[in-house]
């Protein structure tokens, strides 16, 4: 005999099954595309990293871990890795500091607030290459002229032609464009902070800096976590700015990993080796992101 309770249970499990089916039906297309466009190429990459493919020939041989062994003694890869780490650290500091300051300013009741918000976001909609080409001209013609006029030795010659300064030239352009999106994210984060907290804090006698540290920063941590993931990825994979502004120069001073991978693949015809470099770099980025997400997610306000 079927009791009403059992009937309900059957109905529930049927509903659950249907829900599962719907869930699967909705997930499968995305999952397949993810496999097709992400997982499969990665597996292919791993496969090719064990070969000696030159990127053209229809035939190639299995060489085991030789590419990985070469990577360990590759001075150019080490130099590029160091460049990227340095660049990423500078980029993180630059992006976070500038975009938090901009967000705080744009969050205040100022005249023409929407205008300024649009203005600061504008660089994000321009193409990286276009911006790089424009700045390349500014660095050649405009900046040295200003530097000479104001007697600033550092700016009196083309920054991009100076081995020590070229990284800052590239970084400046990256920041000019790269702070737009984080500013927007921080601005959105700022707007989630309840105003009462500031009121309560000021009644308790907290000064502006204490309020910023205890309330603003705490509330911005989730946004910071997202921004950090984005910026770290951008920094470790920087290509466009370098390729269009310095081409890795002068004398290889701004050779980034992505540029090195590109050059190995397309100029040296060492395709398999360049894929090995890409995989190693991917692992490094994954490791850094893992630590970073673990660290920041433990700190945010629940």
């Amino acid at each position: 005999m079927v009791t009403p309770a059992k009937k309900r249970a059957v109905g529930r499990s049927k509903l659950q099954r249907e829900q599962t089916l719907t869930f699967i039906a909705f997930t499968i297309p995305g999952f397949l595309m993810y496999c097709c466009f992400l997982i499969f190429p990665i597996l292919m990459g791993i496969y090719y990293s064990f070969m000696d493919w030159n990127g053209i020939s229809p035939s190639y041989d299995f060489i085991g871990l030789e590419n990985y062994a070469d990577l360990l003694t590759d001075r150019k890869y080490k130099a590029a890795l160091l460049f990227n780490v340095r660049y990423t650290l500078l980029l993180i500091v630059g992006v976070v500091v500038i975009s938090v300051i901009l967000a705080l300013m744009l969050n205040r009741e100022i005249k023409g607030r929407s205008f300024f918000r649009t203005l600061y976001f504008a660089p994000a909609v321009l193409s990286m290459i276009t911006i790089s080409l424009i700045f390349k001209q500014i660095f050649f013609y405009v900046l040295p002229a200003i530097g000479q006029r104001l007697n600033i030795a550092l700016l009196s010659s083309n920054v991009l032609a100076d081995r020590d300064l070229a990284i800052y030239g590239v970084l400046f352009v990256h920041l000019w464009q790269g702070v737009a999106l984080p500013t927007l994210l921080f601005l959105a984060g700022l707007q989630t902070i309840p105003q009462e907290l500031y009121e309560a804090a000021s009644i308790d006698g907290a000064n502006a800096w204490q309020q910023f540290r205890a309330i603003t920063v705490t509330y911005l941590l989730p946004t910071l976590s997202v921004v950090l993931v984005l910026v770290v990825k951008q920094g470790l994979m920087v290509f466009d700015y370098v390729k269009s502004m310095t081409q890795g120069g002068p004398g290889g001073a701004t050779q980034s990993i992505a540029l090195l991978i590109y050059n190995n693949g397309f100029e040296r015809n060492k395709y398999s080796y360049s894929i090995t470099q890409a995989i190693a770099t991917g692992l490094i980025i994954a490791f850094i992101s893992f630590i970073q997400i673990k660290y920041t997610s433990g700190k945010k306000v629940e």
Binding site: I56, F140, Q247, G248, P250, G251, N269
Partner: protein
């Protein structure tokens, strides 16, 4: 009503028939894709003119040109996916040699139209004793001088390295910077062209890689480095940050009296300023020996072996090899052509043409160096201009040579 329906069905049948006919006719036209490896407007215009003429003469064949900013990369990617264009042009590089070896390119050896190509260049373009490509034009490299500035200063055109240094001294004394050089990105090219006439082959690099020769004892590296340091003394301070465009601008504005570059720059320079008074002359040889002109095969044509229409492709190459076609192309593009009978009369290039005609030609070493080597050694050469330190130069050059020659 019935009549209307009948008329409609008739019209539809006619339309169907017509479309079948059109389709059938479209199938008769053989579509060929050609990928050009050059990005200069003059080259693209020249090729388009030639292609239009070919299409007009051959109603059954239609050639279309694909132009991309980085053709070598595109060709490599297309080779990977087995989507090679029917026809493409190329310069000399290891990548194409891999393609020749792997049978991706049709063997043209013995094709009658190759007889229209100057025998020497044809020989030069062989790989493993076969003709995989039809060489078409050369590029030559030399010294651009502002003839008006030379005249004003009463200076003779330099023919030896010492004379060049003397000219530099005199120009400096007159308050004119002798050189503007596109050294932000192009040091590697000048280095390679200069090394090409310092030594005939890369035997020294092989010895350095084998540990049989110290980099500092290499005549090639020594001669180049000393010459490069001398040039660096006489270039505009902006040179290290300048690319082609900026160095053109400095030459045209008279900020500098000379630059070192290829004949391909001439069209652009004349475009910017049609009245500019310049000449391209052989770059004096820093070894003290006679000056030669360093040339490389700038354009050659290949047919991919996977094309469905080999006969039509051959027909296109045959068309290109005709003197009249080559003349049309050369007149627009502006490089010395290697098809027999083509007249090449550019007054700015008179001196360099004379030298070449006298047989003083050296082949660019890029054809024999490993892929990517010149750019990386170029980085070392750039650092030499910045540091002016020979020891670091030899040390770093040895590392790069070891990287590439022991690979």
């Amino acid at each position: 009503m019935k009549l209307w329906k009948k008329a409609l069905s008739l019209a539809m049948a006619a339309a169907l028939l017509l479309s079948v006919c059109v389709f059938a006719q479209a199938e008769d036209v053989v579509e060929l894709e050609y990928v050009i490896h050059k990005t200069e407007t003059a080259a693209i215009d020249g090729m388009q003119t030639v292609i239009d003429a070919f299409n007009e003469q051959n109603p059954g064949i239609h050639v279309t040109m694909t132009q991309v900013p980085d053709a070598a990369t595109v060709l490599q990617t297309r080779a990977q996916t087995n989507e090679m264009p029917d026809l493409f042009s190329c310069t000399t590089s290891t990548m194409f040699e891999i393609m020749f070896e792997d049978g991706l390119i049709m063997d043209l050896t013995g094709q009658p139209f190759l007889e229209n190509v100057e025998a020497e260049t044809l020989k030069l373009s062989e790989y493993n004793g076969k003709n995989w490509r039809m060489p078409y034009s050369l590029s030559c490299y030399g010294l651009y001088i502002r003839t008006d500035i030379f005249e004003e200063q009463g200076l003779a055109w330099p023919t030896t390295w010492d004379e060049l240094m003397d000219v530099c001294e005199k120009l400096t004394a007159a308050g004119i910077t002798p050189f503007t050089l596109p050294d932000k990105t192009m040091v590697y090219q000048r280095m390679e062209r200069m090394m090409s006439f310092i030594s005939d082959d890369d035997e020294e690099f092989k010895q350095i890689a084998a540990g049989e020769l110290e980099a500092k004892d290499s005549k090639t590296l020594q001669t180049y480095a000393n010459a490069a340091l001398q040039l660096a003394e006489y270039m505009t301070p902006e040179s290290l940050g300048a690319e082609y465009t900026e160095s053109y601008q400095q030459l045209l504005s008279g900020e500098a009296a000379m630059t070192i570059n290829g004949q391909w720059s001439l069209t652009t320079l004349k475009d910017y300023d049609p009245d500019v008074q310049i000449a391209l002359i052989p770059l004096p040889n820093p070894t003290g020996e006679e000056s030669s002109v360093v040339v490389s095969i700038d354009t050659s044509f290949c047919i991919s072996s996977s094309t469905q229409h080999p006969d039509e492709c051959l027909k296109f190459l045959e068309f290109l090899s005709q003197t009249e076609t080559a003349q049309t192309y050369t007149d627009i593009e502006g490089s010395p052509n290697v098809i027999k009978g083509v007249q090449y009369n550019v007054s700015e290039l008179e001196k360099i043409n004379e030298t070449m005609a006298a047989g003083h030609i050296v082949i660019s070493q890029n054809a024999i160096w490993p892929s990517g080597f010149r750019k990386e050694l170029g980085d070392v050469a750039t650092n030499l201009e910045i540091d002016r330190d020979l020891d670091i130069f030899y040390e770093d050059a040895a590392l790069v040579i070891d990287d590439y020659y022991n690979d």
